[in-house]
Symmetry: C2
Subunit: 495 residues, 2 copies
């Protein structure tokens, strides 16, 4: 793609001065319009060293209303960021509807910096192609406009710019030995960039490579490209164009009857429970330390019927653990800020760093459960979610995470008797909401959704475990045992 | 304070089992009640190494509804955190109303870790006493309940616990050489802790030192102390007790007439403006690099009348700058999440790290301007704010920040002609809101508030600069010049 870039293209100052005010006005109007339509916009500036990414970023942002954008300069990942999956620091920065996020360098540092510098393995950077494609696709499917620029200059021009920077004492420090080294390897840089551009160019998130030797020419291309992309999206929405909302993916049928087959008669005597509880809690306590020492991130997901005993189960799991190593995230309806973001954003934000255990009490699976049933998202949104969730979990396991997902299963009779108990008991009454009764009426619809969820999102690395929960004792030990064994197997500990 | 702690106090298992369920129930109820009253609660666990902070934290949180609290384990500051004032990482974690933040180790690490280890200067730790006192006072004045525990054990007990940890392979790594070294310096640790407890014990945020050799005894004290503190606060609120809301501080009178004296006839010819603009923009560009290299954080605040030209002024200031080094933060009305936090929380969140320039387009001064005038906060709140703001700015300058605050001043006639111009011009019409006309009607009240603000919050390290802005050209150069000179003087650069 870079061969086709015309590096000699120039725009005269007079021409530029004539055209640019009109473009700036249009950009300003578009930004206000995009806000009205709540369109999230992502602009990426990548390019060779000294290709003018900073200048172009500044030109663009000066044409915008500062209340509507944020600039993110991307530096090498810091301590905290290295302890999360590599897309984490970008997921947490995606814009909410109506806002623009401008990335000066970006997730493409995976290739242009980390691959080039050989600070990551080939497995890591080659896997990043797929991870980035699914990241960008997920954003675009949810309505984000992504515009990506690659600023290109010749080796000779780069040299000239380095020399100029070095000539002034306040900018000399910006050119490091390392930059010169990269300059020497110019051809190799270009080869890496070319492969990257080719493999991450897509209809939904296309690259615009451009000659950046003449900043005016580059600037005009940038303004026009952003304008075109945002205008196209607004036009789609204004015309309620069918393509404005992606259509639901076709999914194979889910076999039904899975939950009916669960053996809910399983139970446990109190004395056995006490013994097992003590034993597994002691083992979990040690495993938490080991996980911390070996820097493994652990994600545990609890989903289940209302009153299936999630809270009490989690309590037994963590009772003996060190609170510095685990966190319980109770998931309720999203707040205003969360609502304005991609639905996975709030979960990406809470993912554990290496060595930590995060327990989600309800989770992203709300998308294919309550949001599906209650119509809080569209059919194409929840149908798409299966793939998106599988991708997210895959990105986590690529990073080394252990993931376990529990479906706490009770039958309708057991739920009713627990509801009644809550109603009677003054200390438990606050736990029972009108909503619980309403959900109960939709049991059959939920059952179907749960079966489909388990069918579509059980993967070898992130399996669902159906926990027979009519007996709370049994269910607690079942979870403790499952977590213990999974961690022991991962850590290579035998018991 | 630690001499008085009875290390021999024990509670029998039977007694504990009898008492604790009742305390747990009360805690749960209190938490729901505190949520109703939107009370933010901060619990701090400090103590000697191996004194059981983790265990006690876990016992407390297990009695709580996980939807209502967050545990923050405090580690040594990471790269990012070291580039912010030391309280930054705690300010950003303060709970919103109705939530509990549990800190396992905390800002007191300033003494128990950093002072002990001599990783900070005496100036830094001795200054931290005042900074912490004002941090805690600000939170409590805004309705937060703060409960601080110091867990005390004898040197012999500490030794015993270290040995026990070392005896198991999964916990042995937790006892480092460094821990043993601290163990040897037990007396010194205790002296540092004692001074810290004495100097940060206050009526509003008292310490509870307690013997932690017997965990049951410690646990009961902790539960009871938290219950008492929260109950006392709820009682205050329920009885609409006068002390529930602090009364307005008495302030000296502000001399009036300051703004009337501003010489708004100052102006500048276009040709002079062009020349000066070029000159100062070039100097600012270099200064931005220098500031980055020397790792100085810079905070610039713009306040001013509607249509005084803040936006255009900021644009000229940053036009030639590198967007990786500066950020413009436009400040509007707080969103839901921000509303539920201390009013300074959202500003603390956005403070620059070292080497970065943050420009606030409107700021925390909204507290004593729009919030005061519109009655969005109480009289005692805005009156208290002068001190709180001065404290915040002092904490920033203690950390090395350069702070400049601009009041963009125009007269009523000039504002009217700008409003009319905006109304006429289709490209500018979106800038003019009904609110602007309403604010204009309150000109006199705002004038009084502005004069009081300037009087009370102009400090040597964070001065207000009144910018004569009837002439936009003059005002832009005035700001550019002021910033240039301030930074040059700070950096020791002569021109």
């Amino acid at each position: 793609m870079l061969d086709a870039v015309d590096l000699s293209r120039k725009v005269a100052k007079s021409k530029y001065k004539e055209v640019i005010p009109g473009l700036e006005l249009r950009l300003g109007q578009l930004q206000r319009n995009a806000r009205k339509w709540k369109i999230p916009i992502v602009v990426v500036f990548e390019g060779l060293e000294a290709s003018g990414k900073g200048t172009q970023t500044n030109k663009l942002l000066l044409a915008l209303d500062p209340r509507g954008f944020t600039v993110y300069p991307t530096h090498p990942a810091n301590e905290e960021e290295r302890r999360k999956p590599f897309l984490w620091r970008f997921w947490t920065k995606i814009p909410e509807g109506g806002r623009i996020a401008i990335f000066n360098r970006s997730w493409y540092g995976r290739f242009l910096v980390e691959r080039m510098d050989q600070t990551i393995t080939e497995q890591d950077w080659s896997r990043a192609y797929g991870e980035i494609r699914s990241f960008e696709k997920q954003l675009v499917d949810a309505g984000t406009v992504i515009v990506k620029f690659f600023l290109h200059i010749s080796q000779a021009e780069q040299r000239k710019r380095f020399m100029k920077l070095q000539s002034s004492p306040s900018t000399a420090w910006r050119v490091t030995d390392y930059d010169w080294q990269k300059h020497e390897n110019y051809r190799e840089c270009l080869a890496v960039a070319t492969e990257m551009l080719e493999r991450t160019h897509s209809e939904y998130a296309p690259w615009t490579p451009l000659g950046a030797e003449n900043w005016r020419s580059a600037n005009m291309t940038i303004f026009r490209t952003v304008i075109d992309a945002v205008e196209a999206r607004i036009r789609q929405l204004e015309n309620a164009d069918a393509s404005a909302r992606p259509s639901p993916p076709k999914l194979e049928k889910t076999p039904s009857g899975l939950l009916k087959k669960v053996d809910l008669s399983k139970s446990m005597k109190k004395s056995d429970y006490r013994k097992a509880l003590k034993k597994y809690q002691a083992r979990i306590k040690n495993l938490e330390h080991e996980v911390h020492r070996r820097r493994i991130p652990v994600v545990l997901v609890y989903e289940g019927w209302d009153a299936a005993g999630k809270g009490g189960n989690i309590k037994r799991l963590v009772e003996n653990m060190d609170p510095r190593g685990y966190e319980v995230i109770p998931v309720a309806a999203p707040n205003d800020i969360e609502m304005d973001h991609h639905y996975l954003w709030r979960f990406w934000n809470r993912m554990p760093k290496t060595g930590h255990i995060t327990i989600f009490d309800r989770s992203w699976y709300g998308r294919v459960l309550v949001e599906r049933i209650e119509g809080f998202c569209s059919e194409s949104e929840w149908k798409r979610a299966y793939r998106e969730i599988n991708e997210m979990e895959e990105h986590l396991t690529n990073f080394g995470a252990v993931i376990l997902k529990f479906w706490m299963h009770v039958d309708k009779d057991e739920q009713l008797s627990r509801f009644k108990d809550r109603k009677k008991n003054p200390h438990k009454r606050w736990k029972l909401a009108d909503e619980d009764w309403r959900n109960r009426e939709k049991w059959d619809a939920y059952e179907k959704a749960v079966e489909e969820m388990i069918h579509r999102t059980s993967t070898p690395n992130a399996p669902w475990v159906i926990v027979e929960s009519n007996s709370k004792y049994y269910a607690r030990i079942r979870v403790l045992k499952t977590v213990t064994r999974k961690l022991e197997s991962r850590l290579g500990i035998r018991h």
